[in-house]
Symmetry: none
Subunit: 236 residues, 4 copies
DNA sequence: AATGAATGAGCCTTCATTCAT
DNA sequence: GATGAATGAAGGCTCATTCAT
């Protein structure tokens, strides 16, 4: 019962688990195959045997982590499409933060490192993943901003939201570091995911509403302007 | 001919310039001394001659970039301390984004990579730099939130603001990449710093105000509650 | 074809053999890993793979040579402890010289170089090895000198003996050099180990006896002196 | 008065002094030009400027030390050629040991290192120096051994003497080492040159006499044998 | 399928030497 | 005459990869 995959997938899976963890912790460049194989308790040659090389393992590890992550945390946070935009936004924010905080998935952490220090190997894959993420937010944001919103507003709004979420990665990363490396970091505060999500949501809604209101005013204004113009015209 | 051996700082500076650029573009691990020296058009051994090693060059390059950056973009954005909190916040946000966007300084980009893929070499230095940054925002945020705000609120608010700013690094990084690497990234939008700063400011102020209002309500509520209690007590 | 990857000790042994020879011939500093690996007909990286580095290989090679040497030439020269001191001395001298002359062990030659140009890597190991050597001689020398001998006499006597032996190393070294280097050394005489040992023994015994006789005389003298003094005292 | 050689020989001499010391302490290979120039407090380029390279400096430093040494300690120890062989032997032994012990000359120490770890640079020079040394001893030894001695006896006798002397180098070297390196060497005994010389002389004379006596006996014996034979023959 | 042994490319670094002043 | 700056050659080491079992 314990050993489910004696069929030669055992090693492969051990490698994927180890790789995603180590890559997430150290990044592609500082990680050596030996590091991974030590954790996976397999032979160094296994990397090449099963994946063909370090680069391929890296890609596979990310995909593996990505699938695992999506399975555990659906992007919409379990909120149905017919729910209110605000609820759906909350769902997505929470989902993202939970993916980051889940100590068993490394998708976001790897992606974050990849964005900062690109290897080029995950460019396409990360790009499409980010696009999915962004589009999810974009739709909701557009809905919340209303029909008066222009492209730039939608872009900046969802960027802000996504960026607030991404910042969370650093904290998680720090809090996961071995204690030795935190010497001078004793002010690392333990942050609760839901608390953080609340604040991101507040900022998001407040920001969006602020822009929406502004849009309304200026559009009303322009309507008024039109009326005035019309009157003026009529007065002629 | 080439200008060589003039005052011994020529090469040193060329190395610092090249190093900060290459380190910012590739990160510490993917960068080789040869890469830097090629850009600086100096001999590989120069790194050791002038700095003692790759690691020391890395540290020096960051400091160099940091100094250059601060000189060009004061952290308060040139806004005097007696200005309104909102103006000071705008100043800081703009200052930070400009430091990121300035194609001649690499301070933030290196720091960002260092946070994502730590070498351990800049831990202390980056930590203190981040602390300065955070404290600057924190003070203003606390002021804006008013005296009813608790620590958690201040923390999350300034985190959100800083995170919104940091997200900008990715966009700058992408837009600076050589064209070859942007193959599939044709949807990278050219972003104007001031525009982006406006939106970060709107979100920040809206979020802060939202929390502030909530605080006020709940405190009024509790006052009312006290009054009611007193009445009840009086009715006894 | 070549026998490779049989049991993983093949390469290791080839390295040890080559290393002890080359180190003995050139010393630590002039020897490069490439030199050794060329002789051993293995890849340069093998040094690090099997030993972790040049220094460790150096240490291992000495130990290897030391063990081999002791196995072939027991320090007491096969002379039993109950034999006469002179025979035991002869045994030790011969054993040492044979260890030096044996073209298959490099223990002494490496040690000699290490004493002249210390790397610091063999300090402890050589020191203890020398101590064993010295102590072996010391005991016999003390026995031969008799109970009247003082510490200084024992020290200098066994130093002289050891030094006479060590001088043999140079001759062996010269005679082992490639012919090219011996251009002007055509007067290097082929020396027979046993002949040399005989002379060292003669000098050793003669020197020791000379000192012993002196000791006896002076002690007799002092006895006489005491007697004379007593007489003088009695005459008072 | 202080600066006697302001004429561009100042630096040259400083280099020679520093070089002979450092080369004696570390040997050719572990010594870097920088080491020497640091001690000499001159620029690194000076080595090449004044001597043309490290190797030439090495040779010059040895010659410099050699001359200085001979000047201070004449090889015959100041004993006139008409003195008794034993006195002349004592003179030579003492002279050699004093050359070794003199903290201002490095001739022997460099030569000793060169013999152990040859660079090839001093081969000729050292060889002729050794030959002079050996020949000096050889003549005296031959005289002491008497006319019955054969070549082999002379060779081994003077080798033994020279070897006893050379062993002294190690002790001097150890006692000159910085204290840090002597951690486990606390049993390094301070040795008095004259004491040591005495013992070398005792061993030398005793050994030589022992051989001489043996020669005499065997020659007498052969004479007797002849006589006996003659008698026997006469008795017939 | 999996592994221990072995390899080669490439990197950082050292150091003697050269260059321009 | 002397020096600080700069260089190129070479060494030790790391590490992804390959080989033979």
């Amino acid at each position: 019962m314990k050993k489910q995959r004696i069929d030669g997938q055992e090693t492969r899976l051990r490698l994927l688990d180890a790789a995603s963890m180590v890559f997430a912790k150290k990044g592609f460049w500082e990680t050596t195959n030996a590091d991974i194989c030590k954790v996976a308790q397999v032979n160094t040659a296994s990397v090449n045997y099963h994946f063909g090389g370090k680069e391929e393992l890296y890609i596979s590890a990310w995909k593996y982590s990505f699938d695992k992550s999506l399975e555990a945390h659906p992007q919409d946070g379990g909120v149905p499409p017919e729910a209110s935009p605000k609820d759906r936004l909350r769902g997505r924010i929470l989902s993202f933060l939970q993916r980051v905080a889940d100590p068993k998935t490394y998708e976001i952490e790897i992606m974050h490192k990849e964005m900062a220090c690109p290897t080029g190997l995950l460019h396409k894959i990360v790009h499409s993943s980010l696009k999915t993420l962004n589009d999810g937010f974009k739709t909701i944001v557009a809905e919340l901003l209303g029909k008066d919103a222009n492209e730039k507003q939608i872009l900046f709004c969802h960027m802000n939201i996504v960026n607030m979420c991404f910042g969370f990665v650093h904290y998680i990363h720090l809090s996961r570091l071995p204690i030795d490396d935190q010497n001078d970091m004793n002010d690392v505060v333990e942050i609760d995911v839901k608390d953080f999500a609340d604040y991101v949501l507040i900022f998001s809604m407040a920001g969006i509403n602020s822009i929406r209101k502004e849009n309304r005013n200026s559009s009303t204004l322009s309507e008024n302007n039109s009326k005035k113009k019309k009157r003026k015209a009529g007065n002629k």
